[in-house]
């Protein structure tokens, strides 16, 4: 409520700035104008006349030229004085009609522009969130946590072979939103202490987070190792399913999600997300899950993904989800994600070839992204890859014509 009162005060101040000069007695301004016998330009020319004498003394102007200049300035002076008088004679009266229009503009126009515009842009209900106020007294832990991280970092700088140190610091990095560091730390821990399923799964997760939610080949490898070590583990299978969806392997993704859901109790945090993914792939799911946390980064085990929700540790790092909530970023991120997916598909087709459908998907995606040259290149590669498949070649040719990709 308070904030609306302050908005009103500001608006009134703005309106007053317009109203005050309009409300002056209409001839007050004129009197002021006539108070001066002459306009300001007359004063300047008078001053210039005296300046000529000084210039003459300094030798900046020759005597005969000074005379001429004096005559010149005197002419200007007379002209200025005359035009000032003319001005005074023709100075029109302040029309009260115009003043009324301007006053109406102040009272109605200013709020009419500012309030709707602010409502469209601002978030009036959102309080300030200074960091100090958000750290509860018990959250001194936040600082302790940072000190701890700094200590471990120092130790690791001295002794990079300390596997346990890497193991400790990796999840801490993850919480601080330093996903790239976390991925390296997990890799070090695995190198020094050997691999196990949780380390591999967390490494993959960190790689995904560092790549804006894209399950890259490197991440996939980590998850696959984790599944090999612990076939029942949910996290790697979740990300692998996600990765299949990103690569466009629709059927495989659907079956992966379904297998995953079969093992679920039903109350795990990731279940609604998995169901949402399935729906996105066009499969009806038993119950319409509640609001889906936005973005692929909202995966199980990632405290960041759940924001400040109940399950969070109280110190989530900035996550992709938070940024998306800001609205502006989402288009960009989505673009990045699509590009990630397309380039993966591209790599796979390059390495092992693929079906007609996959080639079509690739060409279409590249064309949609505006990568015309790459799309043309993809058409060429598709023709080479499908040599012998007459029906496939026809499909590709038709597609190329349709998208205008004839090179």
């Amino acid at each position: 409520m308070m904030i609306w009162f302050l908005f009103a005060v500001l608006t009134v101040a703005a309106a007053l700035a317009i109203l005050a000069p309009l409300a002056r007695r209409s001839n007050a301004a004129e009197e002021e104008g006539q108070g001066r016998e002459n306009g300001p330009d007359v004063a300047i020319y008078k001053d210039q006349l005296t300046e000529i004498d000084r210039d003459l003394d300094r030798g900046v102007i020759e005597p005969e030229d000074a005379e001429a200049a004096r005559a010149e300035i005197s002419r200007r002076l007379l002209k200025a004085a005359r035009s000032d008088r003319d001005d005074a004679a023709t100075r029109p009266r302040s029309g009260s009609g115009r003043a009324r229009i301007a006053a109406a503009l102040a009272i109605v126009g200013v709020p009419l522009v500012s309030v709707p515009l602010y409502l469209a842009l601002g978030s009036p209900s959102m309080p300030d969130a200074p960091l100090a106020a958000r750290l509860m007294p018990s959250d001194d832990g936040f600082h302790q946590f940072k000190d701890l991280v700094a200590k471990v970092e120092e130790r690791l700088a001295r002794n990079p072979g300390d596997g346990r140190g890497w193991d400790v610091i990796a999840p801490a990095y993850m919480r601080m939103g330093r996903a790239g560091d976390a991925a390296k730390a997990y890799a070090n821990a695995i190198r020094l202490l050997g691999e196990n399923a949780p380390r591999r799964a967390n490494q993959g997760e960190a790689i995904v987070a560092a790549n804006d939610g894209v399950v890259t080949a490197e991440a996939r490898e980590a998850f696959e190792r984790a599944v090999k070590l612990a076939p029942g583990m949910v996290k790697p299978r979740f990300y692998l399913a996600l990765g299949l969806g990103q690569e466009g392997k629709k059927d495989e993704a659907i079956s992966a999600w379904q297998t995953l859901l079969k093992d679920a109790q039903g109350n795990e945090a990731w279940v609604p997300m998995a169901q949402a993914e399935l729906r996105e792939l066009g499969v009806a799911t038993p119950d319409a899950a509640p609001v889906r946390a936005p973005g692929v980064a909202s995966a199980p085990g990632m405290s960041a993904g759940t924001g400040n929700g109940a399950g969070a540790s109280g110190m989530p790092g900035p996550s992709a989800a938070d940024v998306r909530a800001a609205g502006e970023m989402s288009a960009q991120d989505r673009q990045a994600m699509i590009r990630g997916m397309v380039s993966q598909l591209d790599e796979r087709l390059k390495a092992e070839g693929g079906s007609v459908d996959e080639w079509v998907r690739l060409v279409r995606a590249l064309a949609v992204l505006g990568e015309r040259d790459q799309a043309i290149d993809a058409v060429k590669r598709a023709r080479a890859g499908l040599a012998g498949d007459q029906q496939g070649l026809t499909t590709i040719d038709a597609l190329a014509t349709q998208l205008g990709l004839e090179s």
Binding site: I44, A80, G109, A129, G177
Partner: protein
Amino acid sequence: MIVELGHFALVLALALSIVQSVVPVWGARMRDERLMAVAAPVAGVQFLMVGLAFAALTFAYLTSDFSVLNVWQNSHSDKPLIYRISGVWGNHEGSMLLWVLILALFGALVAAFGRTMPATLKANVLGVQGWISLAFLSFILFTSNPFIRIANPPMEGQDLNPILQDVGLAIHPPLLYLGYVGFSVTFSFAAAALLDGRIDAAWARWVRPWILIAWIFLTLGIAMGSYWAYYELGWGGFWFWDPVENASFMPWLAGTALLHSALVMEKRDALKVWTVLLAILTFSLSLLGTFLVRSGVLTSVHAFATDPSRGVFILAILAIFIGGSLSLYAWRAPMLKQGGIFAPISREGALILNNLFLTAACAAVLVGTLYPLALDVTTGDKISVGAPFFNMTFGPLMIPLLLAIPFGPFLAWKRGDLLGAAQRLMVAFAIAIVIALVVAWVEGAANVMAPIGIGIAAWVMIGAVSEIVWRVKLGRIPLGQSFSRAAGLPRSSWGAMLGHFGMGATMLGIVAVTAWQQEVITVMQPGETRSIGGYDLTFEGLTPSTGSNYREDVGHFSLRKGGVMLANMEPAKRFYMARQMPTTESAIETFGFNQVYVSLGDAKDGGAVVMRAYYKPLVTLIWLGAVVMVIGGLFSLSDRRLRVGAPRRAHHAAAAMPAE
């Protein structure tokens, strides 16, 4: 709540700018005093509103309020206080807000100090300021809003680009913006004169202080930016002909020309049409600079914004303001009456010569800056136009200009005596020649350009001094009388002398560094010594250390001359954790005008390190010269001529701020 209050204040400022762009201009058209009177208080309150918005954003930075997207993207709770403040304008959104704040400040200043101006001129000037405000406030609110919030605020920010975490950044952009935006006032004056169809010597006198203020800040801003690049980027270079630097240099060249042509207009009522055009062009170049830097068209250390929608928006602003003002110019300029006549050899003629060379040089820089962009857009070829192009075009244009500088002040108005001026400059000329010959003799035939360059620099400096010497008749009349004559000289004379002298000093620094800089790039083991420029540099070792938001490896060097210990130099390589970015921190020792400069490269095995050391003779003159130029500008600004009509202001001192 404070953040939202700032956001609302910014929206209100937009609403006010609409009023300010319409009502006063309408009033001036109708000659309605009351409508015109609206301009001043509205400009004042608009400044207060933008100030409130800026304060609110600063508050969010100070308290690390990561619920503001802009703060989260560019700040960090570990960041030292000063960089939390400078972080406000160390990013696209915040720097645009600073831009508009300065624009509103200039509007309020015109409103407060323009009491002696004719009402219609003042109303039109503030009206045009209102158009600019409206354009940039819309740009901020619709494409670069710094007040966007995050629903679930993260606990830690992403930190400011480490290369920008430097005292230089805290000062450089505000100075530069004061210069850029200051020229908006001269632009508004020009547009107002065209709207009014009236322009005279008095106009030039009202606009001159604004040109001077803008020029002073732009000079300082460019010098500061150059020094910042010198010590922060680790190359030891002071000017790169980088498009971003050119973007600030072009308005400076045009502004310097404007400064001189306004002088002619004020004194002689001549060059009116040209002066108005220059005023328009100067601000257009400022806008172009803003466009180049802010649109992300360029990718360099400065372009921390990349978003095409913004680029298109600024391009539209650019097209509307430049196109609009030039159309207005084409339509109205022929109606302006021409004033005084003068002979080709005269003070006026000299100033025209100055204008010709400055604008030609500006055009050369413009071509060198825009050509690669145009080529990239049309053909997709990426080329880079570097120092050789500018040395071939800009250099030859500067030499005749520099040679001519000392003559100008010796020539009389209307009709000058070139021979007389030459005679009075004989001493300066002789000294310059002697200096050049001495340099040539020491240097040998190896380097022809050094003696010529030093000679020209000396000529400019001594020529500037000899004008004052001649004016006060030093040596021709008793010393006491000379002193009283010196005291009686108008401050603008001293200003001109200092401005020209500073130009010569800068030139001297540039020539000396270019000709005699020494450079050593080598791998050093601890305990090893290298000598450079007569100094011995010993590498003592490398130690790691930790700052508040970075880790660094600090190299320890001791600097000796003839065995005498002079200084410890500690260049460092820093690594900023949050952004995962390295930076170099160079170490600089100053001896007189000379500097020894050390920066670190990569560490090698066994404690060795790659290091780069320079000996830079007279390098500080480059920036000290700019400082002298600025002092000259301040002298001119304090000249009594510019305070004509000031007595009236004294009575109104209490009411100077219309907003209260």
